[in-house]
């Protein structure tokens, strides 16, 4: 029986959803607010796709592949600013995700660690935390594992089970070896890894959806340096477009409409069933479509915005918002940035982004030193070992710190950041809070005249305590790096309450079994609307300290299969 679906958003969640439904014979229409940047998309196999991306920093600075910050501004403020009545203190990109066919995965660097077993039972295992809306996931790691495995094999993930520490495998057991071996580790990351080993940590190859060998007709990565934030010029990275969406379109069962901004989901009078999706097309004209299933995959902020924009008589506070949880529990990753400084050029950029991972600070930690920080426990995160900055990014950063003129130029010549520093990032867990939320800005609009999403945020005491606890450990690790002449960390949550500039986002439409405390059920279906599902990271009840894309993919595939099987 042919079924129809509208998928809103073509990033990882939308891409894998369209792929799975197409395979099962569904007719799928994908609405994507960005444009296609891969010539040949939908016409030729993924191995033959062209690309408009390149190793060009100016395009990144000009938001190529991202929503334009003037056309589609986001606004932001901190919780304390909100309490003081400030409507917004930031406007522009703020924490915008990508907007292109393929979504943010077009310019991610494809790090693919799985979440851990313990992440799905956090409330049960560790208890409540004041000021945080802790919750267990309505699903377990074991339920997700087959889907992790399937997406990893479809997209092509490098790694090595034999080099993973036992405590990592115990928490994220795998049914088989990775698709391909790790790519070589850059020189600077090797130095950092030695520092990690000296303080007793266990660096291991970072799972990544980057080809270390030819895969699916696409070449191996050649470690060109410009990975995170750049589209891959040689087609060596798996992503939503090449791995899922393009095959789905080639199957004849999926069509993708680019520059299509969904702005309202219409329901029947009772509000129990969605009847249409309204969107603006590339000419700015309003259009509408109907389908059996409406599957939202807009990324956490845009997904929440669409639900809020879809308020109607039956859903006066936004679609599926009986619980008043739509837009709340917005979570990022609270990074601790670190760097070891060297006297000489350590080629920190020359690598396939980050190829090593340290999980020794994932936790949880519950000792007296944690209690003294005013929290019942601390959950940490993985540490990304090795990163560098390209030239124009370096120039901007100095520009933000220093004056123009010779001082700036001398910094560019001596290059403390680019040539002489190797970086690490601790991807800190962010606890869900009711007041960390997306709502509709009362004044600022996008170019269609629609209210912009507004982000209100502050880190929880858990994040601040985490910075105090983990920061010195990371700094010690960096100081142990062979050849390091200095090391420093930037504990983000201790410095600013502003939402961190990261593409790691979750929450806003959490899934759970109780309709009074969650937005959707275990299958992402809105508790109050039969045929609308949230497919993306919006559904995550908590946000463990691991790069989220592989879990976004696995969870969307799980929900898709349950839809196909008629379970939901």
């Amino acid at each position: 029986m042919a079924r129809t679906a509208i998928v809103i958003g073509s990033g990882p969640a939308g891409g894998v959803t369209a792929w799975a439904l197409s395979q099962a014979g569904w007719d799928v229409t994908v609405l994507e607010r960005g444009r296609n940047l891969r010539p040949g998309f939908g016409e030729v196999p993924s191995s033959e796709l062209g690309t408009l991306y390149g190793s060009d920093e100016i395009k990144g600075a000009r938001s190529f592949g991202f929503p334009d910050p003037v056309m589609e501004p986001m606004t932001g403020r901190t919780q304390s600013e909100a309490a003081a009545g400030t409507q917004r203190s930031a406007q522009g990109s703020v924490v915008n995700m990508g907007a292109a066919v393929g979504g943010t995965s077009m310019h991610y660097n494809a790090k693919f660690p799985r979440f851990w077993k313990q992440d799905f039972t956090q409330l049960s295992d560790l208890g409540p935390v004041d000021g945080a809306q802790m919750a267990d996931w309505p699903i377990s790691y074991d339920e997700l594992e087959p889907y992790y495995d399937e997406v990893e094999y479809q997209i092509g993930v490098q790694g090595d089970v034999d080099q993973m520490p036992d405590f990592v495998l115990a928490q994220s057991p795998r049914s088989r070896q990775f698709v391909m071996p790790p790519n070589p580790t850059g020189y600077a990351a090797q130095l950092l890894a030695e520092g990690a080993r000296r303080v007793g940590y266990s660096p291991f190859p970072y799972p990544a959806a980057v080809n270390s060998v030819e895969f699916d007709g696409r070449p191996r990565c050649n470690s060109c340096q410009l990975c995170s934030g750049f589209g891959c010029p040689i087609n060596a990275r798996g992503d939503s477009l090449v791995s899922f969406l393009n095959p789905a379109v080639l199957s004849g069962k999926t069509r993708v409409i680019e520059r299509a901004l969904a702005y309202r989901i219409e329901t029947n009078a009772a509000g129990s069933r969605a009847t249409a999706v309204h969107y603006y097309d590339k000419n700015g004209d309003s259009q509408s479509l109907s389908a059996d299933k409406i599957l939202i995959a807009g990324s956490p902020i845009q997904t929440a915005r669409l639900l809020l924009l879809s308020a109607n008589t039956a859903h006066p506070n936004g679609l599926g918002n009986r619980s008043d949880q739509v837009g709340r529990n917005l979570m990022f990753h609270n990074f601790i940035l670190g760097g070891a400084a060297f006297e000489r050029n350590v080629q920190s950029l020359r690598a396939q982004s980050t190829t090593l991972e340290v999980d020794d600070l994932v936790g949880p930690f519950t000792g007296p030193e944690v209690q003294a920080l005013g929290v019942p426990y601390l959950k940490g995160a993985l540490i990304q070992i090795g990163s560098g900055l390209p030239l124009l990014t370096e120039a901007y950063t100095y520009g933000g710190f220093t004056d123009f003129g010779l001082a700036h130029k001398n910094l560019m010549r001596q290059s403390p950041m680019r040539l002489r520093i190797a970086g690490v990032q601790f991807v800190g867990e962010d606890l869900p809070q009711a007041d960390n939320r997306v709502d509709l800005d009362p004044e600022v609009k996008d170019w269609h005249g629609l209210p912009s999403p507004r982000v209100t945020y502050a880190p929880h005491q858990h994040e601040k305590a985490g910075s105090q606890f983990f920061g010195p450990r990371i700094q010690a690790m960096l100081m142990a790096t062979p050849g390091a002449i200095g090391a420093a960390i930037i504990p983000n949550p201790l410095i600013s309450d502003a939402a961190p500039s990261t593409f790691h986002q979750a929450g806003t439409a959490r899934m759970g079994d109780d309709p009074e405390t969650s937005v959707c059920d275990r299958n992402g279906r809105l508790h109050d609307v039969d045929n609308v599902h949230v497919m993306d990271g919006s559904t995550f009840p908590t946000f463990p300290g691991f790069n989220p894309t592989v879990t976004v993919l696995a969870n969307a595939l799980r929900i898709s299969r349950n839809i196909i099987d008629g379970i939901t």
Binding site: A341, S387, L389, L411, Q414
Partner: protein, 337 residues
């Protein structure tokens, strides 16, 4: 070095040879149309619609003198600066982006011809769709009183910001008895640019500094970084695709340190580390030739080497120094936010 391997010298040599035929716009003041004051371009990039650029000769002279203060060259500094890189001309191209078809906003992809590709895709600018054209006209031209462009109120475009700011600088020069800004001593030019007294000048500095950085250190297809001077003194390898790097270039240092020279520990069995690392090795702490700046760098910058976060920082700046500094302040220890 293996002949097949990527060679920085080779790339620079290729780039130098290339620069003669590059589609970089060369602006000759002597070719200006004396009646309109518009600057003609003698070797236009492909598909130049009308052969005119936004800034006139007088404005371009002033802008050149501004860019010179942002990234000084000789005689203050031995390395080429913004004037050598052609930054003012590149900014003029940005302000004139819609005089070209396609507009010169996004260079093409995936490759330049600096690292093994036969064709320079970067030189083929990407046609804008209606969304992008709207967005970039709004930034460059401003809202111009058009209701459809004022969905969040009036927007002053970069063209007006430059025109007003450069005129204000020339007017201010008169107060010093100089015919124009470019004729002022370096120190006076710095004073005018830094003082912030005149909002028109402050607005100019706000956008022109980051535009100058783009033109100094970005890809040369946008009209700056002539002869790759921005990638020379900075020891930047530039775009290296499709050649990329060999495994050996990735895993081994070009310039080994002391700790790289020791033999691998017997039986270390390390598979993710450098087999030549010796855990007991030490490096002497070197003398730095600019200790104050490096100290500041250690304090403030050492931890910011994260491409994932810095892209958001750059995009949030939207070409504005004020916005960039607001972003940076979020990562600056010791400041209360």
């Amino acid at each position: 070095m293996d002949e097949e391997q990527y060679s920085r010298r080779e790339v620079l040599k290729q780039a130098a040879a290339l620069s003669g035929g590059l589609a970089t716009v060369t602006v000759f003041g002597g070719c200006a149309d004396g009646n309109s004051g518009k600057v003609a371009i003698t070797r236009p990039p492909r598909n130049n619609a009308n052969g005119e650029l936004f800034l006139n000769e007088t404005e371009l002279k002033a802008l050149n003198a501004v860019c010179d203060r942002f990234v000084p060259g000789a005689p203050e500094d031995p390395s080429p600066g913004a004037v050598d890189a052609g930054c003012a001309d590149a900014i003029n191209l940005l302000l004139s982006a819609f005089a070209f078809d396609p507009p010169m906003i996004f260079a093409g992809g995936p490759f330049s011809d600096r690292a093994g590709a036969e064709h320079n895709d970067f030189a083929d600018f990407i046609p804008l769709d209606s969304y992008e054209a709207f967005a970039w006209r709004l930034k460059i031209e401003g809202s111009l009183g058009l209701p459809e462009r004022e969905f969040n109120g009036p927007v002053k475009g970069w063209q007006q910001t430059y025109r007003d700011g450069l005129a204000a600088l020339d007017a201010a020069a008169a107060g010093y008895g100089a015919p124009d800004f470019a004729s002022l001593p370096l120190e006076t030019r710095d004073l005018l640019l830094r003082s912030g007294d005149d909002p028109l000048i402050a607005d100019l500095v706000d956008v022109a500094f980051l535009h100058t950085l783009d033109a100094m250190y970005g890809a040369p297809e946008y009209g700056g970084n002539r002869n790759l001077v921005g990638w020379g003194f900075t020891e930047y390898e530039g775009d290296v695709q499709p050649r990329g790097f060999t495994d050996e270039q990735v895993t081994q240092p070009d310039n080994p340190g002391l700790f790289d020279l020791a033999p691998a520990p017997a039986g270390s069995g390390v598979t993710t580390g450098n087999s030549r690392l010796r855990s007991s090795a030490l490096l002497p702490v070197p003398d730095l030739d600019d200790a104050l700046e490096m100290r500041r760098a250690f304090n403030d910058l050492v931890a910011m080497t994260s491409g994932e976060l810095s892209l958001g920082m750059m995009q949030n700046s939207q070409g504005s120094l004020k916005k960039l500094r607001a972003e940076i302040s979020k990562l600056t220890p010791g400041e209360s936010k």
